[in-house]
Amino acid sequence: MSGLDPVGNSAKAYITVRDLTMAYGSFVIMRDMAFTINQGDVFIIMGGSGSGKSTLLRHLIGLNQPARGEIFYGNQDFTRADAIQREQILRGTGVLFQSGALWSPMTLAENIGLLLEEYTDLSPAEIREVAALKLALVGLKGFEDYYPSQISGGMQKRAGLARAMALDPGILFFDEPSSGLDPISARLLDELILDLRDSLGTTVVVVTHDLASIFTIGTNSIFLDADRKTISAQGPPKELLAHTQDPQLRSFLTRGGMEHS
């Protein structure tokens, strides 16, 4: 039940991206991207607004097709996988979309239950129990029968996380998790992400430009440079800050602070 087990030859690589080029039609967004997301990483995809962070995430979860290059989950080629393999890979992933993206005609419990109904043999009563537990994990105990429109934006986001965790996926993707959250909720979400990683061993991929999050939770990262249209740096965010010579990245990691000093 914990997603797929990446038994690749490379040491515990969960996702390997090779030579990836992303484009909308003939308009290239990023090219020649190569990086590895290891099991247990909290992997940060960072970059300025409009640099293609969210587009990269959409490629990783199969919503967009690469113009060139490959994405491997373990040793399975995700880009060339057939429908059954794709579904199997996707069943091991959970995604928290920017706005939560809860299915609006369903209650929170039904949102979570839909996945359990489809992919497990649990009885309706058991499904409800699991759904209640997932909601409790994100601090929404007792909100099972609320519709998404009846709760606040921050709560929708947490409910979206509960749904992403429904099947105990091996890897969780977060698209700008702290956007629209107040600083305290954002910090609590960061703590929740670390808790999940530590207790369930979930690999986490976060698209963000929130510096506080990047330094608190990131164990590895890539920086997308919109001008050069490729990855200009990768490594643990704190090390990048200490050692990078790249003025773009330095400026990003210090909120432009180094430019003025």
Partner: protein
């Protein structure tokens, strides 16, 4: 009121004096006078300001100053902002802090005719391809449905059946009853001349069952339900709910489109029968009320005129119209862009596509039924 005056100092400095209130609400301030003054001063080397008599100000004066600053740059004239209030000075610096990005300004270019025709043709080809792609997916989905492999929520289907069925009754009642009334009046005026009022029953009965019942219901459903489908799916696209379905391994075709098509296909024949009945009732009301026929005569005449083939043909057509309306709504919804305006366009386009498809299908049916002698 805003006032501006000029003074030439030392033969190469232009001193611009601002006075009075410079506010957007006080009327437009034009930089024309300053521009003319600068042009009439060939030995100009420096522009300075005097704002001691300047009253309240807002963006109105800033717009003029930004223009002056542009002019100075073009003519390589020095600009001395010291005479301006500190606030204006800071805002001007702010406006000029980031230089205009090369290529940021949109080029206004009128494409040549051939290019526009070409772009249009490519657009049509693309949309036909997208439609065929959608129909192909839909066919595959139906094959999966009959193989019991399609996944959708039964509760969604029941809700949709309620929305496309029972909830549509009031509007269908109103419109089709009135269509019956209108047909009866049109017929009555002509048939009265021959003393053949009784044939109003034939006219209304056959028109409603063969054509109007199915078509009026279909057009109502295109406006009511097709638009709703497009708006629902379009909004789900904007809120990333469709992405969430896809990444959870559900096909939007099975999960969203299929139940909508099934609901309309099941409900349209029922609505059509009901519409036939209401239309005939409308005709009867006129026949009895103004043509002085008796209820029994009218009903008997209708029963003699209308055949089972007429009714069955109309009902069959209505379920085809149901498929067209549902597909048009879902296609436009799934094609919607990611903004509120795009969702509105999708709903409009769903209604237009739906009605065009209904009329085209109606034409085809007429020819086929004529050839088959139905």
């Amino acid at each position: 009121m805003n006032q501006v005056s000029f003074e030439r100092v030392d033969n190469d400095i232009l001193l611009i004096r601002f006075a009075g209130r410079w506010q957007l609400s006080g009327g437009a301030a034009s930089s024309g006078a300053i521009e003319r003054e600068m042009q009439a001063f060939p030995s100009l080397a420096r522009v300075a300001f005097d704002a001691r008599d300047l009253g309240d100000w807002d963006s109105s004066i800033l717009t003029v100053l930004a223009r002056v600053s542009d002019l100075c740059r073009q003519r390589h004239v020095a600009l001395d902002p010291d005479g301006l209030p500190a606030g204006i000075h800071r805002l001007l610096d702010l406006a000029e802090a980031v230089p205009e990005r090369v290529g940021a300004r949109k080029a206004v270019r009128k494409a040549p005719v051939l290019e526009r025709i070409g772009t249009g043709a490519i657009g049509v080809a693309d949309s036909v391809t997208a439609m065929l792609d959608f129909l192909g997916h839909m066919t595959v989905t139906f094959v999966r449905l009959f193989g019991m492999k399609a996944r959708y929520r039964a509760s969604d289907l029941w809700l949709l059946i309620q929305q496309c069925g029972a909830q549509a009754l009031p509007i269908v009642t109103l419109v089709t009853f009135l269509v019956g009334v209108i047909l009866a009046f049109v017929g009555a005026v002509q048939l009265k001349q021959f003393g053949a009022q009784i044939y109003v029953a034939n006219l209304v009965g056959i028109a409603m069952t063969r054509e109007m019942g199915a078509m009026m219901t279909a057009i109502l459903m295109a406006g009511r339900t097709g638009a709703a489908f497009a708006a629902q799916l379009g909004t789900m696209k904007v809120t990333q709910e469709i992405d969430a379905l896809t990444t959870a391994g559900f096909s939007p075709m099975e999960f969203l489109v299929l139940p909508r098509v099934i609901a309309l296909v099941l409900m349209m024949p029922l609505l059509c029968l009901y519409a036939d009945f209401m239309g005939i009732a409308g005709g009867a009301a006129i026949g009895v009320g103004t043509l002085h026929l008796s209820w029994t005569t009218y009903v008997q005449q209708t029963a003699d005129a209308v055949t089972l083939t007429d009714t069955a043909g109309g009902v069959f057509k209505s379920s085809v119209y149901g498929v067209l309306v549902a597909l048009a709504g879902c296609l436009r919804g799934l094609q919607s862009g990611n903004s509120s305006a795009a969702v509105g366009d999708a709903a409009t386009s769903a209604v237009v596509t739906g009605i065009v498809a209904i009329i085209v299908a109606c034409g085809i049916f007429s020819v086929v039924f004529y050839v088959l002698g139905i």
